[in-house]
Symmetry: C2
Subunit: 317 residues, 2 copies
C-alpha cells in the first residue's frame, strides 16, 4: 500500500479479508450493573481476548500479509516492549518468517518472556530512544528484514480499522464509541471505519491526563509529542504520529482525559462486574465515559477493551 | 417437585424451560496456550459471567419458579454467605417476592453488600451452625417464607443440571468434564444431565484436598461430612447432602483432589491466558485436569468456571 495520506474504504475491506482466519472476531460483553452506573447501554469489545492479548495483531497481520513473498522473505523487525511486539511475532508466523524485536534491556521479564513465547527473536539495547533506533536500523540492515512500525503506518491503521468496522456491525445503532489513544493507530483506524461504513457513530478519544499529547495536539491543532509521560496505562504513553494525528484532528468528536485514580477505579469496575482481566489502558475508555456520563444518558455506547496483558503482581488493587 | 430420589429427564427439561430468559446462556472460552499446557482441547464454560456471578442462579431460579403463586407469596429464605444468597435474591425478583438471607455477623462486607445490592433482606446471626439454623427457622416461621436450600434439594439439582445439558450441546464430542464439588448440587445435576442426554461424557469431580469430604465419602461409599475445612476455594467448603451423595457415588468417574498451591497456580493460568476473573473454586477443575493430564491427551475436555465472586483485595498473587 502506498504511504499516502490515509487508507481508502477499499483498503480497509482488503485488510479485513487479509486478516480473516488469522485473528479472532472478538465477542461483545455487557453488564447490567455497569449500565446502571453509567446510565447508558454499554457494549465492550473484548479485544483483550484477541490473539496476543490485544487488538495490535490486526494491524501487524495486515502489514505482514500485505507484503509480497519476496519483500518479506528475510523477516520483519520492530522496536517495542509492548503489545505490538507480540502481535508482530504472531503475524510473522502466518508467513513462516522470523520476527526481530528490539527491546530495552530493562524491559520487564514477563514482557520479554511473552514475546519469546510467541517465537520472536529479541535483540536487547540500552533503554534510550537513540539506542532503540540505532539497534533497529542495524537489525534491519544486517537481517535484511522489513521494519513494521507500531502505529504510524497505513497498513497498520487499515488493520486496526477492522476492529471498529466489526464492532458497529455487532452493535447496530451505536451512538458513540470511546477509543483509547496511545500512538493513535486504533482511533485513526476507527475514525476511518466509521467514516466509510457508518457515519452515525461519534468517536471519542480517551487518554490519561498524565500522557495527554493527543489532547494537547488536538487543542493546539498541531502535533505536540509527549514529554516522558508517566501513567499506569503503559500502553498509552506513546505520542501520535504524523499519519495518525491529521485523521484524529479531523474526525474526533472530543478527547477526554482521565486521572490515574479514575483509571484505576474503572479498571476495578471491569474486574468486578465484567470479570475480565484487562491492562490499565483498557480501562481508560470506561473512565472517560463515566466522567462524561451526563452527556450519554440512555445511549448505546461502545467501549474497547484494548488489551489484557497485565502483570498480576502489579495490579493496583 | 416431590422430593424423591433424583430428578427425571423430564424434570430437567422442565427446569430448562422455567429458567429460560431469567438466566444467561453462558459462552465457551478457549485458549491455545492452555491447550498446549494441558495437551488436550479445553473448553471453559463461563458460568462466572452468569447472573449473580455463578451457576447458582440456575437452581435458585428453578426452585423459585417451580412454586405456585400461593406457596411463594410471602417470600423465600435461605442461609448462605456465598453465591446461593445472591442467586436467591435474583430468583426472588423474578416473582416479585422478598428474599430473606441469614448470614453470620462475621461475613465479609463485600459479600453482604453484594447480596444487599441484589435486593435481599439480610438477617445476621452469630457465626455458628446452630445459630444459623435457629435464625433461619425463626425467619421462615415469622415471615411464612419458603426455605430454599443451597444444594440438597431436587429443584436445585434439576436447575444446576441445565448447565451441563447446555454445555454438551455447545461442545459436541466432549469426552470428559471436570466439575468442582462443594455441596454437590452442580456435579449431581451434571451427572444426571449426561446420563439422560449424552451418556458418552465422563464426569470427573474436582475437590480441594483441604475439603475432601466428597473424595472421602466416595472412597468409603458412605457420607462423611467435612470437619471444619480450610481452603482458599471457599465455595467448596460445604459437605455433600443426602440427595447429592448417592447420585455422585453412582455416576462419577473419579474424584481428583488438589492442593492449595495447585489451585492458586491454576487460578493464575486462568487470569493470564483466559483473562477471566474467577474465584478460587473455579480454578479447581483446571488444577485437577492438569494434575491428571497424562490421561486426557488429545481429548476434548469441558471445565466449569463456576463463579467469579472474588475479593480483589485477596487475590493470591
Amino acid at each position: 500500500m502506498p504511504q499516502h495520506q490515509r487508507p481508502t474504504k477499499e483498503e480497509i475491506i482488503k485488510a479485513e479479508q487479509r486478516i480473516e482466519g488469522f485473528v479472532h472476531e472478538t465477542i461483545i460483553l455487557t453488564s447490567a450493573k455497569l449500565n446502571e452506573l453509567a446510565g447508558a447501554q454499554l457494549f465492550f469489545k473484548a479485544e483483550h481476548l484477541q490473539k496476543g492479548g490485544s487488538f495490535k495483531v490486526r494491524g501487524a497481520t495486515n502489514a505482514v500479509q500485505a507484503l509480497s513473498k519476496d519483500q518479506i522473505k528475510n523477516g520483519v523487525a520492530t522496536h517495542s516492549s509492548g503489545n505490538h511486539a507480540q502481535a508482530l511475532a504472531i503475524a510473522a508466523k502466518t508467513r513462516n518468517i522470523p520476527a526481530y524485536v528490539v527491546m530495552p534491556n530493562n524491559a520487564p521479564v514477563v514482557k520479554v518472556e511473552a514475546v519469546k513465547n510467541y517465537g520472536a527473536h529479541i535483540i536487547f539495547c540500552v533503554p534510550t530512544l537513540a539506542a532503540r533506533e540505532t539497534t533497529l536500523n542495524e537489525v534491519v540492515r544486517e537481517k535484511e528484514a522489513v521494519f513494521i512500525p507500531p502505529y504510524n503506518h497505513m497498513d497498520i491503521i487499515a488493520g486496526q480499522a477492522t476492529m471498529m468496522k466489526q464492532f458497529t456491525e455487532q452493535v447496530p445503532d451505536m451512538a458513540a464509541a470511546f477509543i483509547p489513544i496511545g500512538g493513535g493507530g486504533l482511533i485513526s483506524g476507527s475514525l476511518l471505519a466509521v467514516h466509510y461504513f457508518n457515519s452515525d457513530v461519534k468517536i471519542y478519544g480517551a487518554e490519561p491526563k498524565n500522557a495527554d499529547d493527543a489532547y494537547q495536539s488536538w487543542k493546539a491543532n498541531k502535533l505536540i509529542p509527549a514529554n516522558n509521560p508517566d501513567t499506569i496505562a503503559d500502553g498509552l504513553k506513546t505520542s501520535l504520529g504524523d499519519l495518525t494525528f491529521p485523521i484524529i484532528a479531523e474526525g474526533v468528536e472530543q478527547i477526554i482525559t482521565v486521572t490515574e485514580t479514575e483509571i484505576i477505579e474503572a479498571m476495578k469496575l471491569i474486574f468486578i462486574y465484567l470479570k475480565q482481566v484487562v491492562e490499565p489502558s483498557a480501562a481508560v475508555p470506561l473512565a472517560a465515559l463515566l466522567k462524561e456520563k451526563a452527556n450519554f444518558r440512555g445511549m448505546k455506547v461502545g467501549l474497547i477493551l484494548c488489551g489484557g496483558n497485565v502483570d498480576l503482581k502489579k495490579l493496583p488493587f
